[in-house]
Point group: C2
Chain length 426, copies 2
C-alpha cells in the first residue's frame, strides 16, 4: 500500500486513523485499555535499519523510492487518545493518529499488536482484582505466553491492579514490584520435603511461603510449622478442590498455632474461581495462564480504520466502510465520559466540532504525540505508575453493574453526539 | 530457588527436567510442537548483562554469590527432544534438559514461554491446513498478538504448512515467504473505489488482488474487471456470509469473463469456517486472529518438571510429584513412534534403559545441545525449512482419525514401556 501510495501521490494526503473496538469480548461489562506507554516507547525506536532495508531491497518487496522513504522515516504526526488504564466501551475512540496516509498506515500493525494484547490482559486482570475484593494478586503467567509478551502482561496486570509479578524483567524495565515462589522441583530436588523446607527457611527466613502440595498437604503443613515455628510466613496450595482444601488448611494451621500464617492459592485461577473463593480464608492469589491469555479473550478485537482525510480543497472528508457487520463511523471524534453524582453514566463521542460537556463530564483524550514530539509523561516506569493510579480511579467511577462477572450489556452505553446536540446509540 | 540452592549446595546436583503436556487442548486429536529452533537461538543469547545484574543487586533480590553465578552463566548441559514440527500427544516428553539443577531451573520459563506459544500456533495452523485440503493459507494475524509473538506466530504457522505471512520481519529473520494485501483504508484514501483499483494495478500489475467489500461487492467486482480486464489476478472478500457470497462472486467473475481471477477470503476464519468452505470456489485463505491465538487454545499447557536427579552415591533417583490432578511420572524417558505399514499406531515412551524398537518404530529424540554446544542444524532459516518438511512427513504418517476437527481422543494412545517390556497407558 505504501509503495502504491507513494507512486500515485496519495501517500501525503493528510489522514485521521482511529483505533477502537466494535464490541467488548465475551459480552463483558467494560474493558481496560493498556499498552499506550509501551506503544510510545516502541514508536520512539520505530526506524528501518540497514538489515530491514537490505531485506526489502533484496526481495524486491518495495521500490527504491519507498526504500528511501523508509530509511528517512520518523513519525512527524500527532497521536491523542484515552489514558492508559482507562475503562473503555464499544466504539470508544481509543487512539487517534493524525498524519499523512503513509505515516498512519505504517503504524497500524504496531499499535494494534500492542494495544490488543496489553488491553486483553488488563481487561481480564481488572475483573480478577474486582473478584478478589481487596486481597492481593500476583501475576505468575510468564510461561504461558510468548517470552516478550510475558513482560507486557506483567506490566498490564499491574496497571489493572495486580500487586506484583514473578517476571523480573517487568520489574527492571517497568518498575512492577516482583516476587518469587518455590516450585515443586525445589521439593523434589531435596532428599526430603523437610530438607527442602529447612533450606528455604535458612535462605529466606521463616516468613517465606512454602509450597505444601508436592506429596501430602497435611503432612507438609505439619512439617512446615515444625521447622519454621508458628511464625511461618505462608503456605501455597497449587492443586485440589480449593474451597474445601483451603478451609481444612486454615483449621490445621490454626490448630498448630500458626494463626498468622497466610494462605496463597495458585491452581489455574481465573476471575470465576477467585469469586468462588470469596468466603474462603485465602490471603492472596497467584494467577498464571488466565491473566496472560486475557481469560478467554486474548485478542481484544481492536481495529484501526481511516476515518477522515483532507480533500484537495482543504476540507475534511469523513470516510467509512460499509462492509456487512464491519461498518465503521467516519470522521474525527472527541470523547467524554458523562458522570452524574460522581458515577459514570454514558460514553459520549462527539462527531462534530462543537465542544460537548455539560454536567460533570470528564474529557477522555490526552496528547501522546504532538507533531512528532512524544509526550514523556506516559513513558517508562512513571507512565506505568500513573496509568495504575488512573485505572483505579476510572474503575471506581463505574456504576456497580460493571462489577458483574456474567455476560451482559456494557456498563455504559456509547452515544455519538452530533453537531446539533442530537444523540444516537453506537 | 537458585539463591537458596546455591546456598545449600543442591544447585550443583545433576538433574533431568522434562517438558511435556498432560493433555491436548480442547480434546484435539494431535498437537504440533514448535519453537525449538527459536528456543535454541534464545539460549545462544541467554546471558545476564550489566543492566540485569544491577537491577537484581539494587533490589537485593539475590545474594552476591548468586549475582556472580548469573554473571558467569552459560548453559553447559545437554538438551534433546522432539524435532520441531513433530506431532505430539499427551505425556510426549518434548524436551529433556540435562544439567545441574541451577542450569535447568533457570531455563524453565524461557523454554516454556517459547514452546507453549509456538506450539499453540502450529497446532491450530496444522488443523487449518488440513481443513483447506491443498488450498494455500496466508498468516495475517500480526495485529492480534503481541508485537514479538507476531513474528513467532508467522514462523510457527509456516512450519505447520501455511504458505506465506504478511509479517515482513518473519520473512527477514526466518525465511518465511511474505505477501501483502490492500486494506479498506486504501480504498477509503482515494476519491473513488475505481481510483484505488487503478492505482493499485498501476503499481502492482493486473495480477494483483483487489479488496472488493468496502462498499458494494457486486459493483466493486464490475469496476475491478472493467479496469484490470479479465486477467485480473484476484479479489479478496473480508465480510459477509462467505459460502453464499463466494458462489455469487465466482458466477459474476465468470460472467464477466474473468474465469481465472482467484478468490481469496479472510473473514475471521478458523479451521471450522475453512472446512465449511470445502465445496466453495475459494482459491486461497487469509487467516488472522484464530491462528495467532491458537484457535481457542493460546497456551498449550506444557509444563516443565524435574523427573530425575543423581544421588550422592551416583545413582539416578526418579522423582515425581503427587499433587491431585497434576501428578508427574518420574525418570528420564526415551520416546519412539510406533508405525505399522507406514501409519503411526502408538506413542511409546520407554521408562527404562532397555532400547525399544520393534516394527518400523521411528525414534523421536534429536540432540539440540550437547555439553553446552548448540547443534546448528536446528537454527535459523534452515531450521525452519527442515521443521516444515518434517511436519508434513509426521502429519502424513498419522492415522486418518487425526484429521477429525471435532473433540475426541488423541489419534494415538501414549504408553509407558517398562524395562521388562510391559506397557501401561499414560
Amino acid at each position: 500500500m505504501l509503495d502504491a501510495a507513494l507512486r500515485d501521490g496519495t501517500a501525503n494526503r493528510e489522514c485521521v486513523f482511529e483505533l477502537f473496538a466494535r464490541k467488548l469480548p465475551n459480552d463483558r461489562r467494560y474493558g481496560v485499555v493498556a499498552g499506550q506507554g509501551r506503544a510510545m516507547e516502541a514508536l520512539k525506536h520505530f526506524r528501518f535499519g540497514d538489515d530491514e532495508l537490505e531485506f526489502l531491497a533484496q526481495q524486491r518487496i518495495v521500490s527504491d523510492e519507498t526504500l528511501q522513504w523508509l530509511a528517512d522515516f520518523s513519525f512527524s504526526g500527532s497521536i491523542r487518545g484515552y489514558r492508559e488504564g482507562e475503562a473503555y466501551f464499544p466504539q470508544s475512540p481509543l487512539l487517534e493518529v493524525h498524519g499523512t496516509f503513509a505515516e498512519g498506515v505504517i503504524l497500524e500493525t504496531l499499535l494494534l499488536s500492542i494495544l490488543n494484547y496489553d488491553s486483553a490482559v488488563a481487561s481480564a486482570a481488572a475483573r480478577m482484582v474486582s473478584a478478589a475484593d481487596g486481597r492481593p494478586l500476583a501475576e505468575m503467567g510468564s510461561r504461558r505466553t510468548g517470552e516478550r509478551s510475558a513482560v507486557a502482561a506483567a506490566r498490564a496486570a499491574y496497571i489493572a491492579g495486580f500487586s506484583a509479578t514473578s517476571n523480573l524483567e517487568a520489574g527492571r524495565s517497568w518498575g512492577v514490584p516482583t516476587m518469587g515462589t518455590a516450585a515443586h522441583s525445589w521439593t523434589l530436588l531435596h532428599d526430603s520435603e523437610a530438607d527442602a523446607f529447612r533450606s528455604q527457611i535458612a535462605a529466606l527466613g521463616a516468613d517465606t511461603t512454602l509450597l505444601v502440595d508436592t506429596y501430602n498437604v497435611t503432612e507438609a503443613i505439619r512439617t512446615a510449622v515444625e521447622i519454621a515455628g508458628p511464625s511461618l510466613g505462608g503456605i501455597r496450595l497449587d492443586s485440589g478442590d480449593l474451597p474445601v482444601v483451603v478451609r481444612e488448611v486454615r483449621e490445621l494451621l490454626d490448630d498448630l498455632g500458626a494463626t498468622e500464617t497466610a494462605i496463597t492459592v495458585t491452581n489455574d485461577l481465573d476471575e470465576y474461581a477467585i469469586a468462588a473463593l470469596a468466603a474462603s480464608p485465602v490471603n492472596s492469589f497467584g494467577v498464571g495462564t488466565s491473566v496472560v491469555t486475557g481469560s478467554g479473550a486474548v485478542a481484544s478485537g481492536m481495529v484501526y480504520k481511516l476515518v477522515s482525510r483532507r480533500a484537495e480543497d482543504g476540507s475534511w472528508v469523513p470516510v467509512a466502510k460499509a462492509s456487512p457487520g464491519k461498518a465503521s463511523v467516519g470522521g474525527a471524534k472527541v470523547p467524554v465520559r458523562r458522570r452524574e453524582d460522581g458515577i459514570a453514566s454514558a460514553e459520549l463521542i462527539a462527531l462534530g466540532t462543537e465542544p460537548i460537556g455539560d454536567h460533570d463530564d470528564r474529557p477522555l483524550y490526552v496528547d501522546y504525540v504532538t507533531d512528532g514530539e512524544i509526550n514523556p509523561a506516559w513513558l517508562g516506569t512513571e507512565g506505568v505508575a500513573s496509568a495504575r493510579e488512573h485505572c483505579a480511579m476510572a474503575l471506581a467511577e463505574l456504576p456497580r453493574t460493571a462489577r458483574r462477572l456474567g455476560a451482559g450489556d456494557p456498563a455504559l452505553t456509547t452515544y455519538f453526539v452530533h453537531d446539533d446536540g442530537s444523540l444516537n446509540r453506537a
